[in-house]
C-alpha cells in the first residue's frame, strides 16, 4: 500500500491581507509562498503511516512552473518522493480540472505498487474551498473521509478512522482505496530536520506537464468582479455609568433596541 499526499503551495498566512485584486487575478503574488499550513498535517500523517505500516509516501503538488518549495518542505519532513504537476495541464480550468489532474497523477505515481490512500489537508488558505479532495475522490471513484481526527488502524485492506463533524464524532470502517482529508487535531506536524533539509535540497523533483498527463479541462464557472472587502467603520459607544449595574442596564437598553436579543 502506498500513500500519496496532496499539497498546495500557498501564501504565508500573515501576508494574505496584503494580496491585491491584481495579484489574485493574475495569480502572480508578491507574498512569500509556503506549504499550505493545513497540508502539513497531511504530510505528518503520511510519514506516521509509513512508520506504522511500512508504506511508500509521495507528495504531489499542482502549481505554477518551478513552484516546488512546498514539495521540498514535504521531502525535508520525510516523505520518500515528490512530483510537481505543472498547472498548464489544466489550462485555466476549474476545481474539477485540478481534481482530475491530481487524480491522474495519483494513478501514475503508483508505478510498481498502487497508491491506495490519498491524504489531503482540510482546506487551502488561498482557495478556501475544501472541495479538491472531494473532486479527487470522485474522479478516482474512491470513498472519501473528511475532518479525520485519527487513523486508528489499517487491517485486512480496511481502514478504521475517527472523523468529526458539527453534530458529533464517529468511528468508521471503509475498505481501501480511500481519500482522506485530515483535521488539525490529528497530529503535531514535525519541523524538518537539518538532515532532511539537506536531503530535500539535493532531491530532483520531476515535473509532469501536458506530455505526461492528458486532462480534459472543464470550465464550469467564471470568476469576475474581484474586490477587496473593506471592514466597516464603526465608532464604538462606551457606556460610562457610575456603577457596573448602570452600565449593564445601558448596554441592555441598546441591545434590546437593536433587536438582537
Amino acid at each position: 500500500m502506498n500513500v500519496a499526499v496532496l499539497i498546495k503551495q500557498t501564501p504565508d498566512t500573515a501576508e494574505l491581507p496584503k494580496v491585491t485584486v491584481d495579484e489574485a487575478e493574475s495569480g502572480e503574488l508578491q507574498a512569500t509562498m509556503v506549504i499550505n499550513p493545513w497540508d502539513e498535517f497531511a504530510v505528518e500523517e503520511a510519514i506516521d503511516l509509513s512508520d506504522r505500516f511500512g508504506c511508500e509516501t509521495v507528495a504531489i503538488s499542482l502549481g505554477r512552473a518551478d513552484e516546488t518549495d512546498a514539495l521540498k518542505h514535504a521531502l525535508a519532513m520525510g516523505v520518500d518522493s515528490a512530483v510537481h504537476v505543472d498547472e498548464d495541464v489544466i489550462d485555466g480550468g476549474d476545481e474539477w480540472a485540478t481534481a482530475e489532474a491530481l487524480a491522474a497523477a495519483v494513478r501514475k505515481v503508483g508505478g510498481g505498487e498502487d497508491v491506495e490512500l490519498v491524504l489531503a489537508g482540510k482546506m487551502s488558505v488561498d482557495g478556501n474551498s475544501g472541495v479538491i479532495y472531494a473532486g479527487v475522490a470522485c474522479k478516482l471513484d474512491w470513498d472519501l473521509l473528511v475532518n479525520v481526527t485519527r487513523i486508528v488502524d489499517i487491517v485486512d485492506g480496511k481502514l478504521i478512522a475517527e472523523q468529526a463533524f458539527e453534530g458529533g464524532q464517529e468511528t468508521v470502517e471503509v475498505p481501501l482505496p480511500v481519500v482522506i482529508s485530515v483535521a488539525k487535531e490529528i497530529n503535531e506536524p514535525r519541523y524538518p530536520s537539518f538532515m532532511g533539509i539537506r536531503k530535500a535540497s539535493r532531491a530532483t523533483i520531476p515535473t509532469w506537464g501536458r506530455d505526461h498527463l492528458e486532462i480534459d479541462a472543464s470550465r464550469t464557472t467564471r470568476w469576475n468582479d474581484l474586490s477587496k472587502p473593506e471592514p466597516e467603520e464603526v465608532q464604538v459607544h462606551i457606556f460610562d455609568g457610575a456603577t457596573v449595574e448602570e452600565k449593564a442596564a445601558q448596554l441592555a437598553d441598546a441591545l434590546m433596541a437593536e433587536k438582537v436579543i
Partner: protein, 326 residues
C-alpha cells in the same frame, strides 16, 4: 425546473441554517420562475418534511430508510443526484457544514457542474444564478457565474435571515430508494453526538466569549461567562489564549485556527481582539466588548463597549437580562 435545497439533519433534527437557505431559495425561485424543492434524507424525515413545507418548499423529495440514519457520502450523494434529476434542478444548494460541503462538491463533480463553495450571497442576474464568496481567507471577494446547466453552491451558515414558518402548502414526493446495506462500503462502528443542549457556535444568533481576561480566576470567569450565555440562549466561545491555557476545550475556539462565526451579537469578555481572533468573528453584526483596558484593539471593531472588570460586569449583565427576559 426547481432549486433543490438539501436539508441537513443532526441527530434526527433539521439543522436550522437550512431554513435560511430554503427561504432564500424561494426568493430566487420566484425570480427565476421555478419551484423550490427540499431534499430530506434520513431514517425519519416526517417532522422535517412538515417543517420544510412550513418554511416554503413547494416540493419535498424524501428518502427514508433505517440505514440512512447517519450521513454517509456514498448513498447520500447517489440519492441527491437522483433528486437533482427528478427535480430537473437548475441549482443544488447545501449549507456549508462539513457534510454539506462534501455533498455539494461530490454532486457537482459527478454532474460536471460549477460550484461556489462557502458562498455568502446568491442572486439572480439575467435569468441566471450568481454567487459571491471570498478567497485568500476573506481578503478577496469574487463573484461566480455558472457556465454549466446545473449551479451548485454550499452556503455559509447565517448568510440570510432566519424566516418564520408559515401555513404554506407543498407536495411530498418519495424517491422510493431501495438500499442494500451490502452495497454501502463505509460502516459506522460508533457514533457520539455532540453534547445535548449546547448551542453550536456556527448556528448561534448570539455568542458570548471569554478570553485571557479571566486569568485571575479562570474557573469562576468561565462560569460567569457561561451563565450570561445561558441567560441569552447563546453559544459559548473563547479566544485561543483561553483554550491554550486550558480554561476551556478547543471546540469553543473562535478565530483563524478555530471556528468562523457570524452571529447577530458577539459579546467578547476579556478578549483583546488580536487579528487572528477578529478573522473568526469580525463579520458579526454587532460586537460588544467588555474589557478593562480602554485601548484594547477590540474596541476598534466593537459597536458597544464597557470598560470595566469582567468579574463585576458580566454578572451585572446576567442579572439585567434575566430581569428583562423573564
Amino acid at each position: 425546473m426547481a432549486i433543490l435545497v438539501w436539508i441537513e439533519q443532526n441527530d434526527g433534527q433539521a439543522v436550522s441554517n437550512c431554513w435560511e437557505l430554503l427561504a432564500k431559495a424561494k426568493e430566487l425561485g420566484t425570480e427565476l420562475g421555478v419551484e423550490v424543492a427540499a431534499l430530506l434524507i434520513g431514517s425519519d424525515v416526517i417532522e422535517a418534511t412538515q417543517q420544510a413545507v412550513a418554511y416554503g418548499a413547494d416540493l419535498v423529495y424524501t428518502a427514508s430508510a433505517s440505514n440512512l440514519e447517519h450521513f454517509r457520502l456514498q448513498p447520500y450523494a447517489a440519492i441527491a443526484e437522483q433528486a437533482v434529476e427528478r427535480a430537473d434542478a437548475a441549482a443544488f444548494l447545501t449549507n456549508a457544514s462539513i457534510r454539506g460541503g462534501i455533498l455539494a462538491a461530490t454532486v457537482a463533480c459527478r454532474r460536471n457542474a460549477g460550484i461556489a463553495a462557502n458562498a455568502t450571497d446568491l442572486w439572480v442576474e439575467d435569468g441566471k444564478l450568481v454567487a459571491v464568496r471570498t478567497i485568500y481567507s476573506g481578503n478577496i471577494r469574487a463573484r461566480i457565474q455558472f457556465e454549466s446547466p446545473l449551479a451548485v453552491a454550499s452556503v455559509r451558515p447565517r448568510s440570510f435571515p432566519m424566516p418564520e414558518p408559515d401555513a404554506w402548502s407543498g407536495e411530498v414526493k418519495d424517491l422510493n430508494v431501495e438500499l442494500n446495506e451490502d452495497d454501502i462500503r463505509l460502516k459506522i462502528s460508533s457514533f457520539r453526538a455532540a453534547d445535548a443542549g449546547e448551542v453550536s457556535l456556527t448556528d448561534a444568533h448570539i455568542i458570548v466569549s471569554g478570553g485571557r481576561g479571566v486569568a485571575e480566576d479562570p474557573q469562576k470567569g468561565f462560569e460567569l461567562v457561561g451563565k450570561l450565555a445561558d441567560t441569552l440562549g447563546a453559544a459559548l466561545g473563547a479566544s485561543r489564549a483561553a483554550v491554550d491555557a486550558g480554561y476551556i476545550p478547543y471546540k469553543h475556539q473562535v478565530g483563524q485556527t478555530g471556528k468562523t462565526v457570524r452571529p447577530d451579537l458577539y459579546i467578547a469578555c476579556g478578549i483583546s481582539g488580536a487579528i487572528q481572533h477578529l478573522a473568526g468573528m469580525g463579520n458579526s453584526k454587532i460586537i460588544v466588548a467588555i474589557n478593562k483596558d480602554a485601548d484594547a484593539p477590540i474596541f476598534q471593531r466593537a459597536k458597544y463597549g464597557i470598560v470595566d472588570d469582567l468579574f463585576q460586569t458580566v454578572p451585572a449583565l446576567t442579572a439585567e437580562f434575566s430581569k428583562r427576559l423573564r
